[in-house]
């Protein structure tokens, strides 16, 4: 598989952002929730040791943003994993079984689809309390629905392919056919879909934090940083620009990677 220049650039940007998120905060003398009363809302600069400025409470934005990237990426990746496992399992079984089972299983997905997801998230928040775990569970619980639809469609298509029919005709039990012949062939489209989902999940997390349902202060996520930044953008624009730039970089990089993967996996896309 050969990746184009755009996809490779995206991969490089992602690696850089991930490295910064992992090791960046340790390079600064400040901690995520440390308040610096001498430097309230200072713009980015080198003097005070707040390289990317501070917020209203004098908290260091370099540290907070990178910690936020860490939290947001972790939530998005975990949620993608949750939706991947649930969606691939459910979709593959429905698509492989076909007939009544398939119709019933997909009807259940339709029902869940018809509930506004904010409703889900609120209920989960109520039951589990506000924590990053809740957020990723909530996002994953919504994300698997679309994944299940994608996987089910692909499985239907694979089901009628010769190599699957050959395995069935040879008496291989359904579970083994699914695990060894169907699921491995699903990975291409699923991978592409997942890279395109992660950005939207990051945005979704930030949206929940904006509504006050996501990651709670003083912990940082890209979402609550952006929500604060949006309120202060007239007086302290860097509070919006700094986390915004990271969000845009991550989403663009993931987008480029996803498109590149799709091109590389797509035979007729010369």
């Amino acid at each position: 598989m050969r990746l184009g220049g755009g996809a490779r650039l995206g991969l490089a940007v992602l690696a850089l952002v991930a490295a910064l998120a992992l090791f960046g905060p340790a390079a600064s003398p400040w901690r995520v929730d440390a308040l610096d009363w001498q430097h309230l809302a200072v713009p980015p600069g080198l003097e005070a040791g707040h390289w990317l400025g501070t917020d209203r409470l004098g908290r260091d934005l370099w540290v907070r943003t990178l910690a936020g990237v860490r939290v947001s990426l972790a939530i998005a990746l975990l949620a993608t994993l949750v939706s991947l496992v649930l969606g691939v399992g459910y979709g593959a079984i429905a698509g492989y079984a076909g007939g009544r089972t398939d119709a019933l299983m997909m009807r259940a997905v339709d029902v869940l689809y018809s509930l506004p997801y904010v409703f889900f998230v609120i209920l989960l928040t109520v039951v589990l309390g506000r924590a990053p775990t809740t957020v990723f569970l909530a996002i994953g619980a919504v994300g698997w629905l679309t994944m299940a639809r994608v996987v089910r469609g692909e499985t239907r298509r694979l089901r009628s392919r010769e190599f699957v029919e050959a395995a069935v005709a040879a008496g291989v039990p359904p579970g083994v056919v699914l695990a060894r012949h169907v699921v491995p062939n699903l990975l291409g489209p699923v991978l592409v879909y997942a890279t395109l989902t992660v950005p939207s999940l990051i945005v979704l997390e930030s949206f929940l934090s904006f509504l006050g349902l996501g990651v709670a202060e003083p912990a940082a996520s890209l979402g609550n940083l952006l929500a604060q930044g949006a309120q202060e953008m007239e007086t302290a624009p860097w509070m919006l620009v700094v986390p915004g730039a990271f969000l845009v970089a991550i989403v663009l990089a993931l987008g480029a990677l996803g498109e590149g993967l799709r091109d590389a996996l797509d035979p007729h896309d010369a």
Partner: protein, 310 residues
Amino acid sequence: MLRYVLGRLAGAVPTLFAVVTLAFLLVRLAPGGPFDQEQPLAPEVRANLDRLYGLDRPLAEQYLRYLGGLARGDLGPSLRLRDFTVRQLIATGLPVSLTLGGLALALAVGLGVPLGVLAARRRRGLADRALLFVAVLGLAIPAYVTAPVLALVFGVHLHWLPVAGWEPGRPADLVLPVLALALPTLAYLVRLVRASVLEVEHELHVRTAVAKGLAPAAVLVRHVLPPALSPVLGYLGPAAAGILTGSLVVETVFGLPGMGRFLVQGALNRDYTLVMGKVIVYAVLVIGLNLVVDVLQALIDPRLRHPERP
């Protein structure tokens, strides 16, 4: 075709029923109740309230009563905003959200589809790359950032448009919220339409159309677009429901009295009836729009009209 539509319609009823039941159970299963407040109520007051709203009855009975009311179009009184019925609250919010959402949807589709086609036609060209970049930005920047930025630039600094507010008959109020609401859908549509058009252009029947000597416009309009727009419709169904029921963010930022108002508060406060009412409106819209999408897709692709046959 009529049989197909009737069949889908009949299939939608159990779906709606399941949604109502599930929502009812989920709301009730969450711990706490509508009358749990910071200052606990006197036990007798609470008992009175519970009796008044029928919350002292067994869950099954409450459920059946709710269904009975629903069948008559009665969504009950709001448990927290006690001067209003849920219907009144929805009746004030829904028109605002529908106006806003309808305009945003029209803008997103009216611009997104042609731009997506343009990007596909100019594949790997300058216009294509520029459009894709803007589209990814549109997806990456959440509405709660674009909305205040728009308000700041056009409202506070340029004074072109009102920053926020909603007065009937003042169309200028609509411009910024519609823009903020349309942007993510518009961005997604550009990418989706582009990918879909490119996919269909590779199909062999398009080569046949060219081999027949059809003009490029005819090939595009008659042979490429109908199959290419089918997945786009599939995306638009649920997306339209989301837009039409109003974006919580856009309504919050611009202070609009739409459907999103009270939903979060209502759910946090266990205003059972209000939350149920809003969930049902949303579900009816989603199911109805999916039905419309299914019918439109069957109109485009005759193979879908007989799903039982392979």
